[in-house]
Assembly symmetry: C2
Homo-oligomer: 67 residues x 2
């Protein structure tokens, strides 16, 4: 199952990689796809929403809810 | 006491903020200063080197040792 979220504050590939790693640190087999232009993070087989939100916020970006 | 490290892969302010947050997540009262142009991260009152290395790597950047 895949879910999408809006994450604000990512401006380059390094930011995207950081968000990806933060989510994978919660659940190693998650598949994370990030579209910088729309601030959309799609997670397949990921942790629950609360864990995604915490991971994103702890990584220094802004979790803005499901997209 | 302040220590400096080289961290590779940061390319913008979002990356820098992410590294800063990752280190602060280990020790909340750490003071982190980042110079993107030299890839130098200076940490005052921070966690130990091993914790810094793990935080940086987990955040999707490359810890390259003390600077």
């Amino acid at each position: 199952m895949s879910k999408s979220y809006t994450v604000k504050g990512m401006t380059c590939g390094g930011c995207a990689r950081s968000v990806e790693q933060a989510i994978k640190a919660q659940k190693g087999d998650a598949v994370v796809t990030i579209d910088l232009s729309t601030a959309r993070v799609t997670v397949e087989n990921g942790p629950d929403d609360v864990a995604v939100a915490k991971a994103v916020d702890d990584a220094g970006f802004e979790y803005a809810g499901p997209a």
